[in-house]
């Protein structure tokens, strides 16, 4: 068998108004590639919108001079989306706190990383010369 893959790459300004369009491009591709409904309509859109929102709001702090880049790669074995921001990065696993605990369930924030963690098979992070990247991995 020869190698086979599809990749999607996007770059856009640090504006939360961009999130829906970016997520739609990614989920349309997943539907086109016949991923299960649960992946294309729930797991990917929620996990990706959390990562992109965080990149815009936390990583780039909505700085209009900074951009977010998303790179999605679909191979026979996995679906991988990388989200690059131009911030300093953070320790994702340290920042996940269980939002279902009685003292946190009534808080407005703090569910993003938790949902990513619930929906994804693996999350990786890297600090690069130009910023921070989070890698969302769903096995096929």
């Amino acid at each position: 068998m020869s190698r086979q893959f599809v990749a999607l790459e996007l770059e856009f300004p640090s504006d939360v108004g961009q999130v829906e369009r970016v997520v739609r491009l990614a989920t349309d591709l997943c539907r086109e590639l016949k991923f299960p409904h649960r992946v294309s309509d729930l797991e990917l859109p929620v996990a990706l919108s959390e990562a992109v929102s965080n990149a815009i709001l936390r990583g780039n702090k909505e700085d209009p001079l900074k951009t977010v880049r998303v790179r999605g790669i679909v191979s026979d074995s996995a679906l991988i989306f990388e989200v690059y921001d131009q911030g300093e990065g953070f320790d994702l696993h340290e920042c996940i706190a269980d939002p279902t605990s009685p003292d946190r369930i009534t808080l407005e924030g703090g569910r993003g990383l938790y949902l990513m963690d619930q929906f994804l098979d693996k999350i990786e992070q890297e600090i690069t010369d130009t910023g921070h990247v989070v890698r969302l991995i769903l096995n096929r």
Binding site: V19, E20, V46, S49, G109, G112
Partner: protein, 110 residues
């Protein structure tokens, strides 16, 4: 406009037209708070047209529910598809909200 609001007797019916996410949740929040300010107490948010909600959308629902309760009001949700139900279960928000199968049942139970 991603939200439509209408009244049925003393109930304020809000239809979310599309996803409830970081790009539009502030608008939902503001419009519901305006109604609350104007005296409305019974709120029903309907999700027939919604595919998914992100964490910021869930957060807005949590904070609206708190605000409405503080004013002696009540917030109900209806017509969650299976994906939305999964989201509410994973976050245990199904224990915090009054959720009805559909709009009719929600209206009856106020």
């Amino acid at each position: 406009m991603p939200f439509s609001i209408k009244k049925q007797e003393d109930i304020t019916l809000i239809d979310v037209e599309g996803q409830l996410i970081v790009g539009n949740r502030q608008e939902l929040k503001q419009r519901v708070l305006d109604e609350l300010e104007g005296g409305a107490r019974k709120f029903l948010i309907n999700f027939t047209q919604t595919g998914y909600i992100d964490s910021s959308g869930l957060g807005v629902l949590v904070s609206l529910s708190k605000k409405i309760r503080e004013h002696g009001g009540e917030l109900r949700l209806s017509d969650l598809n299976d994906d939305l139900k999964t989201l509410f279960e994973l976050t245990k928000l199904d224990t915090l909200f009054l959720i009805s199968e559909n709009r009719e049942k929600a209206i009856e139970s106020f």
